[in-house]
Structures are given as C-alpha cells and as structure tokens.
C-alpha cells in the first residue's frame, strides 16, 4: 500500500521488538520489584550495576548520539522502547535524565567541550543531568545561576538524578550553558515522592564551569522537548504494566466464591484503562517518531503525547492500587512504585495542563 510519506510510523519494527525483549530480559533478571523497593531506602537509590549493564553492556546510553560522535546512531524510536521497559520496571537508573535530556542538550551545543562530554555520556561511563528543575516543560521559565569572576554561584532545587551525576549542565545568567563537575558542588538529596528518580538540591559556591554554548535557550528547549516526548513512552510502560499486573491479580483473587475479575464493575474499569493504554501507545509512538524524523509536527506530537499519557499513567496506577484492595496499600507490594513514578511523571517536563496550554498556541485554539 502506498503510504502518504508524511504519515508517522506508529508501529514497532522487528529490531525495536528485539531491543525490547533484550531490555526486558535484563530487567527481569536484575531489577526485581522487591529489590527496587529495598534500594529506595539504601544509601544508593540508583542502581549502578544495572546502569552498567544497560550502558556498557548494551550500549543504550548512546542511542541518540551519531556513531561518529561516539554513540550508536539509533533514534528516539529505539530510546522510547527502552523507556517503556524501564517504566514498566520503575528502574532506578538515570536513563531519561542522562541518555535523553542531558544528551539532547549537548547535541544542541557545538565545540570540543560538548563533543567530549557527548561521547562520555554516550558510553554511560559518565552520567550527566540538566540542572533545570524536573517540573520544567519545554519553553517554560527556569532558574539560572549567578556568574561572578567566571565561576557559578547559587542554589538549584528539584534536579532529578543529580546524586548519580558526574557532570551538571547548568544555565547561567549570561544566557550560556556550562558544564560543571559534580565534585565542585554540594549535592544534597531531597526526600522525593518518587524515590526511584530522586531529586536533589545543588549548591554552587564559586564552582568552575566550562562553557558549552553562549546561548543555552535552544539547547535547553530541545532537551526538555525530547524529555517530555519520550517520557510519554515511560508513562506508557508504567500504565501497561499496572494494567497487566492488575488483570493478572483479579483473575486469581477470589471473593464471593468467584474470581473478582469476573465482576462487571471491575471489568469495565479495567477495559477503560486498556482503552487509555491503546491511546497512550499511539500518542507515544507518534511523539517518538516525530522526534526521530525531526518532523515539523514535533511540537504538537510531544504536547499531545504528554497531555494524554501523563494522566493515563496516573489513572492506571491508581486503579492498580484500588483494585488490589488492602494489598495495594502495602509497602511490600510494588503497586506504589508505579503510582509514585506515574504521579511524579505527571509533573515532570510540564504538566498535562501546561502541554494543553502550549497546544492552544500551536493549533490556534487561543484562550479567551
């Protein structure tokens, strides 16, 4: 069938399915829910061994980076599949922040400093994070640091995965973006709603920075847009897993002498979640494909995906907690991992409402 060339490819290729299977196998072996829960209260909320397996073992940190710049030369479509699986497992690794957002920011810069860092992040041996609060959406205002005598001063909060980062990409008051070594600043973890993607407060006290670009706005916007667009795939993974687990449980759980999954009141709720997951998959694939092909429709595709998928993940996770009954309220059961990640994700890189506001301008449905 002759397809209109502008129509996005919303399916998964065979290679993408193979990638999914490989990531899922690894996570099944190395990222059990019980261990994730235990780790949240340990000194190392991130899992460095899992990160090593994903990056040095499988090369996944470099998917967005061209081969001649030290990466795998894949695209956002493949990174999206990885994020679906990481979301499913609520894996405590800085993939979205380092391999997507920080990497995109560096791809928006030029010069030897950016190139060197880009290759380092692509290898996974260096973890980077964009020093912009996690709730910031593409195009939204964010804090910048003071520059005095060529060094950076001030404090930032809400910086995701900063505790795992080796390098911070920091916007400053002169409009530039600077690379700052984590060793040169003070990182204090904040008690976070989602302990698997923890936030931190960072204090800069005359921290030396290397200039990545004199105009950070394009790089930051690009980074946040990719983050928001691919976050939809993580949200899809969360929602799909929450639904799958709940369906499985309701087939087994018996009350009133029958499986509770046979009660229509519950079946209809699960069918509704399934419908939403179908929609989230289409929206997430559309955003990933738009980012991968640098489509002119990317801003709309990302805003639609985030406006739709964020509440779907929250709804699926909330239904999982409710339909597991008392079990869903326990610390031991992983339903709360999905709920906390989904709720935090619904704020990350702009709320659904913020993305709808962006759409008002993008598709000419102006406010009164």
């Amino acid at each position: 069938m002759s397809q209109v060339s502008t129509e996005p490819d919303l399916l998964y290729t065979e290679e993408e399915e193979a990638l999914r299977a490989a990531v899922r196998d690894l996570l099944t072996d190395r990222c059990a829910a019980a261990d994730v829960i235990t780790r949240t209260e340990s000194a190392t909320p991130h899992d460095p061994e899992l990160w090593k397996a994903l990056t040095e073992g499988m090369g996944l940190a470099g998917l967005l980076v061209p081969e001649d710049r030290g990466g795998q030369g894949a695209s956002h479509r493949e990174a999206a599949v990885v994020l679906e699986e990481l979301g499913r497992a609520v894996a405590p690794v800085p993939y979205l922040t380092s391999a997507v957002v920080a990497t995109e920011a560096l791809l928006g810069c030029e010069g030897p400093v950016a190139d060197e860092l880009l290759a380092a992040l692509a290898s996974g041996r260096t973890v980077g994070t964009l020093a912009v609060a996690l709730n910031t959406g593409p195009g939204a205002a964010h804090r910048v640091l003071r520059l005095e005598n060529g060094t950076l001063h001030g404090e930032l909060t809400g910086i995701a995965d900063a505790a795992a980062a080796d390098v911070l990409l920091v916007p400053a008051e002169d409009g530039g973006l600077y690379a700052v070594d984590a060793a040169a600043v003070t990182v204090v973890p904040q008690v976070s709603l989602d302990q698997t993607r923890p936030l931190a407060r960072i204090t800069f006290d005359a921290a030396p920075g290397r200039l990545l670009t004199a105009d950070a706005s394009g790089a930051v916007r690009r980074a946040l847009r990719a983050g928001a667009g691919l976050l939809a795939s993580e949200q899809l993974g969360i929602a799909d897993q929450a639904l799958t687990e709940t369906v499985r449980y309701l087939k087994e759980r018996k009350q009133f002498n029958r499986p509770v999954g046979g009660f229509q009141a519950l079946k209809h709720r699960l069918a509704q979640v399934w419908l939403e997951v179908v929609g989230a998959r289409a929206a997430a694939r559309n955003a990933a494909d738009a980012l991968a092909t640098a489509s002119a429709d990317t801003d709309v595709a990302v805003a639609v995906a985030q406006a739709y998928a964020a509440p779907v993940a929250v709804h699926a996770a909330e239904e999982a907690v409710q339909l597991h009954g008392g079990l869903g309220m326990t610390w031991e059961h992983p339903a709360h991992l999905h709920l906390k990640r989904a709720k935090a994700d619904s704020i990350a890189y702009g709320t659904a409402g913020a993305h709808r506001e962006a759409l008002a301008g993008l598709v000419d449905l102006q406010a009164p």
Binding site: M1, S2, Q3, E7, P8, D9, L10, L11, V247, L250, K251, R258, P259, G261, G262, Q264, K267, H268, L270, A271, Q272, W274, L275, V278, G279, A280, R281, A282, A283, R285, N286, V304, A307, Y308, R356, E357, L359, A360, V363, D364, L365, Q366, A367, P368
Partner: protein, 396 residues
C-alpha cells in the same frame, strides 16, 4: 500474485474500455465489478482478484484520478460492510453470484433484520420465528418484529436471523436468511428518533415466505454466521481513516477560531482536553490501520467504537453549550426519512442528539466494555444462567 503494478494496468484497461465521461454510471460500475476491481481481495468472478486487501487503495486512487464514478459506499454501507462478507463467507456459489454484483453496484440496497424489541444486547434471545413448510427444501414462513432497521424502506434485501428451533438453548436454534423486502408480508414503518427524524424503521414480518435457497449457512448455525456480520459492523463503524480535526472536533474548533466572543475559560479548558483526546483517537485508529496493512494482529474495532462514541457525545455537548443563545435553538424538528446518516453540515444540536445513538448502535458501550474485558484482557465472563436452558423456557 497480483501486485500494485498489475492492478494499475488492469485499472487503466478498464478506464480505456469504459471512459468514465462517456459511460453510463451503472455500466461503469458493472464493468468494474466484472474486471475484479470492485474489492480486489474478493475472489475472481465475484468482483475481486484474490489480491491483498491493502491494494484496493491503488485501484481507488487510479479511478479517483480519472474521475470515475463510485458506488456511493455510504448509501450501501450495510450491504458492503455486513451482508457481503457474510454472503462471501457462508453463501453457496449460486447465492454469491446472484447477490454480490448488484449489492456492490448499489442496484440492490440491503438492510439488517437482527435486533428486536425484546432482544437488544441479548440478541441471541430473539423471538422472530421461521417455520419450514413441507419437508426438506420447503419454504420458510417467518413471523415476528424487528427494529432499528436503517434503510429498510429503501432495501431490496435484508439479512435476517430468526428462531428455527425453540427447544434448544438460544444460541443453537437460530438460522440466517436472506429476506426479500418486496414480500407482501413485510411491513416497514418509520421509527421516529429524538432528533425528530426517522432514519430507522420497525419491520413487521407476517407470514413472509423465504425459499430455502435463501438460507445462509446450515439450519441452526445462524448465530455463528451472524458473528461474521457483527464483527464487520464494528470494523466499519470504528476503523475509518480521518485527518486531524477530521471528526466532530472540526466544527467546534472552527467555531472557536471564528467566534472569539463565545470563548470562556471553562470552555477553553474542556475544548483543549477534547482536542487532545480526538487527536489521540485519530492516532489510535491510524495505528490500527497500519497494523492491518502490515498484517499484524490488531484488536477488533470494539475499542475504537467505544472511544468515538464517547468523544462524539462530549464534543457535540460542549459545542451546544459554547454556542450560548444559539445553542438553545434547533435546526428543524420536521419528521423526515434521510437516506444517509451524515453528521457533517448539521447543527450542533442535531449532532448532540444523534451521537447519543453512537453508544447504543452496533453494540452498547456497556456490552463492548465486556467484550474488551473478556476477549482482550481475558477476564472471566459473568456467571450465565441461560446457557443450557431451552429458548422457550427463558425469562421474558
């Protein structure tokens, strides 16, 4: 194997032999059917070439470019979408040859005699009786009442399911027929709807005679045959490809842009939410279409239909409210019998009322949610009290 190039060649041959500008519309359609270019995935001799279904688009594009007439598919949707696949799947060779060509060209319009006043969601409980006169091969005599029948007043034939054995459980005593709507025992009465119009009918069947040669499938196997029809109904309701803002969100978005004086903060929030949902529904439909084209197993159309029903209702409801004083008016309550169900070009009030039917026709949303829960998610069905009870002993 017939490929795209071969189909283009055959289409150009058809166009050369029957130039659209100089050929009578019906002659052209018949010639197209005979050339196997009507529905290329159908068998040779029955309007097709046994080609992949996805290649139909190649033929359609060539014909559209040449300005060839089409068979006005919206007017004959029930025939194309429901009767034809069932006849193809279960008809005898003779039935296929007799019915499919005039069905496809639109010379003979079809309607569907399934639902009854006492058998809606529980269609298998239907009570219209068909009794055989004489021995084997004898005519069937049909008595009963059907309802919600679109196009019954235009139709030459109907697909009909009727009870042929009341003494077995309900799913097993049903037989599937082709009913001649010109039989004197067929009485079609318009059924007026909340819109003021009557696109549907009630159909009363009194001693209607159906020859055994018009039976589709085996006696007592009608429920299985009907599954083919119903599966195709949902696909045809929910599986269409639409451009961005191509659905009911289009008119309200247009009103929003053209009439800033109507805008409020509340309607703005709701409009943006629905715009996002409409766009995602469109993408879901496009994804399902791509799965079908790629030969991947997609879910059936139940999910799409559920989504569109709710969206149509919410969007048209918002539009009525947005229009304020104008929303208090209605275009025309005059009783009419439209040939087509067409939402475009109608006022928001009409669309608001008509779309209420979207969550009822073709399976209620409540039943479709059960179907998703049971067939897609594999959840257990409700305990059944009717499975092993003879139809005549069911509560009614």
């Amino acid at each position: 194997m017939t490929d795209a190039a071969e189909l283009r060649r055959r289409t150009q041959e058809l166009l050369a032999a029957h130039p659209p500008g100089e050929t009578d519309r019906l002659d052209f359609l018949r010639a197209r059917f005979d050339a196997g270019l009507a529905w290329v995935h159908y068998p040779e001799g029955l309007g097709g070439l046994g080609a992949p279904r996805s290649l139909q688009a190649v033929v359609d594009a060539e014909l559209a470019a040449a300005g060839a007439p089409d068979n006005d598919p919206r007017r004959i949707g029930i025939g194309l979408g429901m009767a034809a696949p069932t006849i193809l799947g279960f008809g005898t060779e003779e039935q296929k040859r007799r019915f499919l060509r005039p069905l496809w060209t639109g010379e003979e319009v079809w309607c569907q005699l399934f639902s009854e006043p006492g058998a809606g969601s529980d269609l298998a409980a239907l009570g219209t009786r068909a009794v055989r006169e004489g021995g084997e091969d004898g005519d069937w005599v049909v008595n009963g009442q059907k309802v919600w029948t679109s196009s019954a007043h235009l139709a030459r034939f109907a697909i009909l399911i009727a009870r042929t054995d009341p003494d077995v459980p309900k799913h097993r005593g049903i037989t599937y027929f082709v009913c001649d709507m010109s039989d004197p025992g067929v009485d079609v009465r318009p059924l007026r709807q909340i819109t003021g119009e009557a696109e549907f009918n009630e159909v009363f069947l009194t001693d209607v005679r159906i020859p055994d040669a018009h039976r589709l499938g085996a006696v007592g196997d009608g429920w299985r045959v009907a599954q083919t029809t119903l599966m195709n109904e949902r696909v045809s309701i929910g599986g269409m490809r639409i451009p961005r803002e191509g659905g009911m969100i289009g008119p309200v978005a247009k009103t929003w842009r053209e009439r800033p004086e109507l805008r409020t903060h509340d309607t703005h929030q709701r409009l943006l939410r629905l715009w996002v949902e409409a766009e995602v529904a469109r993408l879901s439909g496009e994804r399902l279409r791509q799965q079908l084209v790629a030969g991947q197993p997609g879910h059936d159309g139940a999910g799409m239909k559920l989504g569109f029903a709710r969206l149509n209702q919410e969007i048209s409801g918002l539009e009525v409210e947005l229009l304020g004083e104008e929303g208090l008016l209605y275009e025309d309550w005059t009783m009419r019998r439209p040939e087509l169900v067409d939402f475009t070009g109608r006022d928001a009030g009409y669309r608001y009322l008509r779309s209420k039917g979207n969550s009822i026709e073709g399976g209620t949303s409540e039943v479709l949610l059960n179907i998703v829960a049971e067939r897609v998610l594999g959840l257990p069905s409700e305990p059944r009290t009717d499975k092993d009870v003879a139809w005549k002993d069911l509560a009614r």
